[in-house]
């Protein structure tokens, strides 16, 4: 190798390996414009397997949005447009899709994602409007390869969602959710998703009874995270049951919350009078 290294002819494998590790901002604004071979390498679907929209700021005044607008001489920029762009680039080979947490996405975006990216294994759902949440079960039914699902808050149709996952997603292994875990929810998890490996209910309302039921029923749990929950304390019984789980995290979980109630306001059955 002499001094006149021609990096623009660097093996496609090298380029694609590097591009796979770059964020979507670099992949859309930076990489394709460096030179011809970089543009060709950026078209490889392997670069677009992980669609991580989470770190991007889609607000109209953000640096990213402005940069995109200038670079592409656009009149207006939309989250939907950007999501479609990256989904298209993946040519169906995307395995991970993370929506931004604070910036909401519409149901249209999610349906587009479900049809354009049928091979998704990990999905981080966005915040949805209440009326849109009802469509979640039919969404997850389309992702047959789904293994990990993260939802910001437990939807009203949680039981229906679990049923659809159980029917369609044979490799489903992990769920992360925040919400109030009722007896029915725990029963559904144990009955329909007994092979769960990872479960995360941080900051949820989780009574001890439900926690024990889940630990009993899901015998293949490898990682259970129930930090900062309300409804149980890590007493002997809980710790003993958790011995079979490789990683068990329950720091910060308390029986009652700071105001002295462990109430779930919607459920009078759970009110304790102190």
């Amino acid at each position: 190798m002499e001094n006149n290294k021609r990096w623009e002819e660097m093996d496609m494998d090298c380029l694609v390996n590097i591009f796979q590790r770059l964020g979507l901002e670099d992949l859309t604004i930076g990489v394709p414009f460096v030179c011809k071979s970089w543009y060709r390498a950026s078209l490889d679907p392997l670069c677009w397997r992980v669609l991580d929209l989470e770190p991007l700021d889609f607000m109209p005044w953000s640096k990213f949005t402005k940069r995109f607008l200038i670079h592409y001489s656009l009149n207006h920029f939309s989250f939907t447009g950007f999501m479609r762009l990256v989904a298209m680039r993946s040519h169906g080979s995307a395995i991970e899709l993370r929506f931004p947490l604070l910036f909401g996405a519409s149901m249209h975006d999610l349906f587009y994602a479900s049809s354009e990216c049928p091979g998704l294994k990990k999905v981080v759902m966005p915040n949805l409007l209440l009326e849109d949440e009802a469509h979640i079960p039919e969404l997850v039914a389309k992702w047959k390869e789904l293994e990990l699902l993260e939802i910001q808050s437990k939807p009203a149709c949680f039981l229906e969602m679990v049923a659809q996952i159980s029917l369609n997603c044979k490799n489903f292994a992990g769920l992360r959710m925040l919400g109030s875990i009722k007896k029915d929810d725990a029963l559904a998890i144990v009955k329909l998703l007994p092979k769960l490996k990872y479960l995360c209910f941080d900051k949820s309302y989780l009574p001890k009874e439900q926690l024990l039921m889940i630990m009993d029923g899901c015998k293949e749990l490898e990682r259970l995270s129930v930090k900062d929950c309300i409804g149980f304390e890590a007493d002997e019984e809980v710790v003993k049951k958790a011995l079979g789980i490789k990683i068990f995290q329950c720091e910060g979980s308390k029986l009652f919350d700071d105001s002295g109630y462990d109430t779930d306001e919607c459920d009078p059955l759970y009110v304790h009078v102190i």
């Binding site: 190798m1 290294k5 990096w7 623009e8 660097m10 093996d11 494998d13 090298c14 390996n17 590097i18 591009f19 590790r21 770059l22 964020g23 901002e25 670099d26 859309t28 930076g30 990489v31 394709p32 414009f33 460096v34 030179c35 011809k36 970089w38 543009y39 670079h71 592409y72 001489s73 656009l74 207006h76 920029f77 939309s78 447009g81 950007f82 479609r84 762009l85 298209m88």
Partner: protein
Amino acid sequence: MRWRHRACGGGGGSSTDAGADQCWALGMLLRALFDSKRRKAPMVSASIRETVAVRRPDSEAKYEVPVWPSSSPNHRDFANWRPIWTDPSRLELKNSSTMSSEESAIEAAPETSKKVEPPKVVVLQSYDGEEFEVDLVVASQSETIKNMIEDGCVERSVPLPNVEGPVLSKVVRYWKRRVEGGKEEELKQWDKEFVEAEKQQLLEIMVAAHYLNSQPLFDLCCQAVADTISNMTVEDVREYFGIENDLTPEEERRIRDVNRWVFD
């Protein structure tokens, strides 16, 4: 014979002797390649031999090039010279059955090479002649080298014409540390320091790791390069890699259009 002298500017003067030698040797080599059965192998003058020996120290052994009579102990009897695959006495045969035909000797050669014991220590030779003596287990971090050894193609030295000495020394350092082993966190920390220290040559090490098929090192370098160029402007990226922009304005416009229509 005349065309050779014309090409080399005629015979006679001492300055053209070396040139005539080389032309003649080249001619003989070419003829030998195409007509090896009827002609004798070419002889090569001492001056050329010395030149070649500097560039490729094992050329004599490797290419079976006979030399003019010299006092060197490596001097071979030219009259008895044969290519290695036809000379049964030079094959290490485990079976005592005699090989008389050329065909059976050729068949025997690949099998014999598999029976050769893999060396415990190999010498990695870089493009610029630097040598690194390493244990087999260290060199096996490269799938390429590992396969060469398993296929019996390696007796002791492994030429790596695509890797420069300084780069190879860094690669060997990484392999040695990997072989030492240790806790996951310790290795990760060492990796981090390695990447930081070798920042200047990261791209060369990455390409070498790819050529040598050493996946952990390759992944480490790619990640480090990705971390470096992430959030860089296009101009800075070009500067870092030493790339010239070969996209015409027309092509750039077309790339933009391809990505724009989803926003309309």
